[in-house]
């Protein structure tokens, strides 16, 4: 059975959600030795890698172990740098800005495909969230359907009678206690109802459905905000800070304008320097997060860490 033939979807009726089966991923590369990283550049005499070049800046390729594959979606890997030991936080500002253009380009190209209804750009950082390769990289899934978290965000627009991220941003700016960073185009805050102790949302001030609609200066300032937050996270407990980074943009369903407001959500699993938040009985079985921290207190600590890391 070839890769792709074993990818399938089943609909879980009780939760009203798709479940994707990609059983070939069971055999994907798992925490390889330092000198066998498949995301390194290929150096003469060294092991073959995914990028057959002696050096590169940013590389994107089809995932060797895809969860989605044409003609039923896409799965790509985005390698931020050929420096194995770096991170998004330590990229040169110019490289981080270039990465915004790469994400924008992938959104446009994948979103134009008929088999992609939603372009999801994300990064898993740290073994705490299941990372299998330490080299700085993110991923992009082109879903052949609009996934449930995105559908719920669109439902929030309908419930609130307008763009929910716009309204929530206005509330946060009026309150002010949970703002941790801002510049002329972007605001970073711990949301009023944060589920994770140090959850943060990075939201464009202007209502832009996707990166496509952002100006060059807005993309630059978005990269500044994302790096400020990532560096602040690392400074918070003075250790590499694990997180899931999730970029939300407008769906790309052909012929439909479903709305959306580009923003990036971070879900860090640490609640202290050593303790993880687990999704257990209430979170998994009842869908209700129980938090041990107040967002206002977390925001004060995170704001201080971002200032220290600046």
């Amino acid at each position: 059975m070839s890769v792709g033939e074993d990818i399938g979807r089943r609909f879980e009726e009780l939760r009203g959600e798709e479940v994707v089966y990609a059983i070939h991923r069971q055999d994907r590369t798992f925490l390889p030795a330092r000198d066998h990283c498949p995301l390194d550049a290929t150096r003469p005499g060294g092991p073959a890698t995914e990028i057959p070049l002696p050096a590169f800046e940013i590389a994107v390729f089809d995932n060797r172990f895809p969860a989605f594959e044409s003609p039923h979606g896409a799965a790509e890997v985005v390698v931020y740098t050929d420096d194995h030991d770096g991170s998004f936080a330590t990229l040169a500002p110019e490289r981080a800005e270039a990465l915004m253009w790469v994400w924008r380009h992938r959104y446009l190209e994948l979103g134009a495909r008929e088999d992609v209804d939603y372009v999801y750009i994300f990064e898993n950082r740290g073994v705490e969230v299941g990372v299998t390769l330490h080299h700085p990289h993110g991923q992009i899934y082109g879903y052949p359907f609009v996934p449930p978290v995105v559908r719920r965000e669109l439902e929030a627009d309908a419930r609130l009678g307008g763009c929910a991220p716009c309204m929530l941003l206005t509330r946060e700016l009026l309150d002010g206690r949970r703002i941790v960073y801002e510049n002329d185009s972007v605001v970073v805050y711990v949301p009023f109802a944060a589920r994770w102790a140090y959850e943060a949302h990075v939201t464009m001030r202007q209502h832009h459905p996707s990166l496509r609609d952002c100006s060059r200066e807005e993309l630059r300032l978005l990269s500044c905000a994302l790096q400020a937050l990532a560096r602040g996270y690392d400074a918070l407990f003075e250790r590499p800070f694990p997180y899931v980074m999730a970029m939300h943009q407008a769906p790309t369903v052909a012929g439909e304008e479903l709305g959306g407001h580009v923003h990036v959500e971070f879900y860090p699993p640490l609640r202290t320097a050593e303790k993880l938040k687990y999704l257990a009985g209430s979170e998994q079985g009842a869908g209700t997060f129980i938090s041990d921290t107040l967002p206002e207190e977390s925001a004060a600590k995170l704001r201080g860490a971002i200032a220290r890391a600046a």
């Binding site: 073959a48 057959p52 380009h105």
Partner: protein, 50 residues
Amino acid sequence: MAGKRAEPPDPEALEREQEDERTGPVKIARHVKDDGRALIVYTRDADAPA
């Protein structure tokens, strides 16, 4: 791929589909890997207009 030794990298050997493509200040080079998967390399253009 662990353990497999690489031939000296030869960018010219990769199939390049398009030239001079760019997104904003970033140049795009498209390749096809040996197994048919797409590879796109993005390089910041230092001479791009601000």
